[in-house]
Symmetry: C2
Subunit: 338 residues, 2 copies
């Protein structure tokens, strides 16, 4: 296997120079660059992660801050981000802030520059103001899966249209004939699921469905949270024929609550979520959901972060919008029965 | 950029001494300490995380290497380890090796010392030989949740008696009257679930149950893996009245496969898993399982790692055994029907 040293020898430079050219950083002449790239091409050198890391004495690392490692969505995003990072020769380290703003801030301050070359941030309980103030080192930061493409901050970010996801969920239930629809929001009213609920409400309003304001519960983004919220909704209003949840975990909780209460799904209650985590397709009954492009968003986020690492003064737009969410109909939604 | 070597040269000491002074450990005179700190100041040296963290009063970091971040058991362990670390003022960073030995080795070589003060290792596709050879820096390492307390390596480790877990699962099914029992092993035959399957087999042998050798499938440690394996088992031997799976995810897959095949759980098929992940209690039907002490093992692992960080020459035993697994009966096991 061709090594970094082989390339350095052929190009008559140090391994550090080869490394700098390949990572496009540090100082070298155009001539040196050309010589190195020629040697790379001639030897068909593929900078292997391990070899490169060892040659440099330290691996190129990016950090991913997540708010809740125990919520399966975040590991799924982490896996996708890691695949994207690995393709580019980066290691990914994951920091769980556990929805604690102080912990998030401490990781943010500490990770920048000392542990990583750049930071991906996923709902890490840091407010955007804190991010604007930045951290000591100034390593680049990308917000992942911002929920409103039309209201993006000027910080670099990848947006997913979760407002549209809420609209699509409402439209699906309306199309199946449902008119009495409960909602379970897996965050506080103005929390991270707000855009999804707003999209849902807007589509119901456009269909002249009134009176749904009482049929909403704000809860934890978990199966347990959805289970309790669904029990509460169905006891307060047994006439509900469908439940929309802003995420798959509370949607699964709603399905399990209905089963526990003796209501068949979907015959006596339709349930729809958002995201399409792996469990949505693996659980029984398999969950109807609005799939968001997790892997595509991870790819975009890693690519944007790499651009910012290479060019701190990047003047291009740093908003990237991921492909639109789409309906995946499975076994928890059906036509409203009389 | 100023390096540790530059500081060592200016202070006329070894790099190890610089490192020790900055980490405030090992032996050195007050005079040596002053000379090193002066050189650090003069060269404006920015040491790596750990040294800097201590120099600046920031919390130090330990690393957790896991084999599969998308398997919910690992995030649950990570969360428990993080809580334990946080109580002691440590930050935890998580590295996912994704069952790739090369990636695992690269993380292992690079994390030690540069990114963290010590490493917790969870089934990270590193073989024990590689761990014995160690990594460049020599930071302490603790193996978490070793499966056989009676066959522990001399490396520091926390053991959980998974052989006993397999025995308990078999004993529960026998007590319910089951005699034709299939097994789903979520690893290769001699892989990380081997001890669980051996425990299961030994208890069946002791009960004079023969012929179970054909009724086993080795598969992925996932819902999907368990689903496929259960379909295969039930088609090959419809007389099976129970299935033991070595982990909760394949056990859930077996439950869902039975439902898909029209077999009621537990009336027409009992299913039991091992671990008691959160989904085991939240899914429907809720899963009977052998609970292992995840949080206790994480606490023991972090405590042992801290001892090793403080005292590299520790002569006490470095094997810690977590509390015994225990049966948690829920809704997927029942008395064998005629």
């Amino acid at each position: 296997m061709t090594t970094l040293l082989d390339v350095a020898r052929l190009a008559d430079v140090t391994t550090a120079t080869v490394s700098n050219v390949l990572r496009d950083r540090g100082r070298f002449s155009a001539r040196t660059r050309a010589r190195v790239l020629e040697a790379v091409a001639q030897l068909q050198y593929r900078p292997h992660l391990t070899a490169r890391a060892l040659a440099e004495g330290r691996p190129p690392t990016i950090a991913l801050m997540v708010s809740s490692i125990a919520n399966p969505f975040y590991p799924e995003f982490a896996l996708a981000a890691e695949r994207a990072a690995r393709r580019d020769g980066y290691f990914l380290i994951i920091c769980n802030t556990n929805d604690d703003a102080d912990v998030g801030q401490a990781y943010f301050d500490q990770i920048g520059g000392t542990l990583s070359e750049g930071i991906l941030i996923m709902n890490s309980a840091l407010d955007v103001d804190a991010l604007y103030r930045g951290h000591g080192d100034g390593s680049p930061v990308v917000l992942c899966m911002w929920e409103r493409p039309d209201r993006a901050p000027t910080l670099p970010c990848v947006a997913v249209d979760f407002f549209l996801a809420g609209r699509l969920a409402a439209a699906h239930l309306l199309e199946l004939g449902h008119r009495r629809i409960g909602a379970i929001v897996g965050s506080a009213r103005h929390g991270i699921h707000a855009a999804r609920y707003e999209g849902f409400c807007q589509t119901l309003r456009e269909a002249d469905i009134a009176g749904f304001a009482d049929d909403v519960r704000f809860t934890d983004d978990s199966i347990q949270g959805g289970h309790g919220a669904a029990q509460s909704l169905l006891r307060a209003n047994p006439a509900l024929t469908a439940i929309f949840a802003t995420n798959d975990l509370p949607a699964l909780g709603a399905v399990y609550a209905a089963l526990d209460m003796g209501r068949a799904v979907p015959d006596a209650l339709s349930v729809i979520g958002i995201t399409d985590i792996r469990l949505a397709r693996e659980s029984r009954p398999a969950l109807t959901t609005i799939a968001v492009p997790t892997a595509a968003a991870a790819d975009l986020a890693v690519a944007l972060l790499r651009e910012l690492i290479r060019d701190a003064d990047m003047t291009d737009s740093t908003l990237r919008v991921a492909p639109a969410p789409r309906l995946v109909q499975r076994d928890t939604t059906g036509i409203r029965r009389a």
